[in-house]
């Protein structure tokens, strides 16, 4: 996977977030403050602008730049969290021009660690971690099993989507939804839903490569 692969990922993610903007916001209206779609859409627009303004030369630079733009433009809980995820991924990739599937796994593990360190959420807390963690685990396993990249990412996407859906019956313990106590049960976590979109975008980027 080269720089253009990661640029394609960002582009796919931005497109998906824009298309699902209202859906994400509606999810957030139910147990949050009705801004998650707007937040991420604003953020990914800024990411694309930043990447166009100063085109990065390595995969790592793509992701560090994307993360920084998210932190600079999103605000809210998701800005620092997604920003940190992309930045940690980028840092883990270093300045390698070409990334192996195993390298991708390591980078995503670093991203997950960054998110959990910053936000303090464990799996089951009804946050984006509930989509992120199973996706990373599934990817790691598939890559280790020698699956083709596309197939491995398909597995990861499915795990993210299942993880997102599995947040529905949970009671939130982190973020804004936790204020609702038991009333947070029965709704999908918006951040988990957007994480599933971002993994699906990664899968599509692999399909194009």
């Amino acid at each position: 996977m080269d720089t253009s692969f990661f640029l394609a990922w960002i582009k796919e993610a931005a497109t998906a977030v824009q298309a699902e903007r209202d859906h994400l916001t509606q999810l957030d209206a139910a147990i949050g403050d009705a801004d998650h779609g707007a937040n991420l859409d604003r953020g990914f627009a800024a990411v694309r602008q930043a990447l166009a303004d100063t085109p990065p030369e390595t995969p790592g630079a793509v992701l560090v730049q994307a993360g920084s733009a998210l932190i600079r433009k999103v605000g809210g809980a998701s800005g620092p969290l997604y920003g940190t995820a992309f930045r940690q991924m980028g840092r883990a990739l270093g300045d390698a021009p070409e990334i192996t599937p195993a390298g991708l796994v390591t980078a995503l593990e670093a991203a997950q660690e960054g998110v959990q360190k910053l936000g303090g959420a464990a799996e089951g807390d009804k946050t984006l971690v509930d989509a992120f963690a199973p996706a990373v685990r599934a990817l790691a396993q598939a890559v280790q099993d020698g699956a083709k990249l596309e197939d491995a990412l398909e597995t990861a996407t499915t795990a993210a989507e299942e993880g997102a859906r599995a947040t529905v019956p949970l009671q939130a313990r982190k973020g804004r939804a936790s204020y609702l106590g038991p009333r947070s049960v029965g709704h999908e976590d918006p951040g988990a839903a957007s994480t599933a979109l971002i993994f699906a975008a990664l899968r599509r980027a692999a399909g194009q490569a």
Binding site: T25, Q26, A29, I31, G32, D33, A34, D35, G37, A38, N39, R42, I71, R72, K73, V74, G75, G76, A77, S78, G79, P80, L81, L118, G119, Q171, R173, K174, G175, R176, S178, Y179, L180, G181, R183
Partner: protein
Amino acid sequence: MKKLINSVDTIVTDTLHGVAAAHPSLRVDIENRVIYRRDAPRQGKVGLVSGGGAGHEPLHGGFVGYGMLDAACPGEVFTSPVPDQMIEASKGVDGGAGVLHIVKNYTGDVLNFEMAAELCADEGIEVASVLVNDDVAVQDSLYTAGRRGTGATLFVEKIAGALAETGAPLAEVARLAQEVNERSRSFGVALSAGTVPAAGKPTFDLSDTEIELGIGIHGEPGRTRSTHREAREIARLAMDAINDDVPLSGDTLVLLNGMGGTPLLELYIVYAEVAAYLEEKGATAVRRLVGNYVTSLDMQGFSVSVCRLTDELTRLWDAPVETPGLRWGR
């Protein structure tokens, strides 16, 4: 949804233009989204910076000025500002005595202010932070993000601002801000939800016979839905929630706060009952505010905040303040 806006995407910028035009006592950096006291930075004075999502006006921009904040950073509607704004603001108010960040306890605000504080430290600005978490509607346990910061933010900003004005050092200002927070409790009730412009419809729907108890200031639903009833009873539910958390006694400072869509007429009706409640409990409202101070767009409802005063806090509350939203003594 009908709103007096030019477009959903330019709300914050357009608002800042209005704030700049309306208040010559402020300096508004529209590009970087920071509202400063015109004379910031003040040499030797601790700089007070706060910020949060837009939609809570006059909080925070309306509390910038003599005796209160030195700068405020508005985020998008109901979305915490970003670290860049906080860093810019901190630089702009640092007069060599360090900067206090007043942060309402929401994951977004906390994470962004944390990042900003780290980067400020890297640049050699001494930063202390105080977390405001006064909302008794939220269980303060390991199983939540903790209590929200609501009405007490105004108390913290006013009282810490007054102390900073005396030239007190950062540690002392931070300690006092913390004390004000610890002595304060709030509870909110909604008759209807506000409409986030980007969402285009109210964040929750209530029928003509329902109210939400224990709401926050971001249109998030409350802890429980209940039946609408007399103002008197609703006021008592709110006060009970506060009194159950910390029994009320002694001298208190009370904020009966409108959420943005409730007429002052109604707020006074509620306040009458709050005052009666306090008296019953043997407490006294020796200082009080009734009006729209920490709002939630056009939400109908109110929150009540009570701070148990000490002589020091009363004195600092009474100290002169000159901001668009709060002014006395000059």
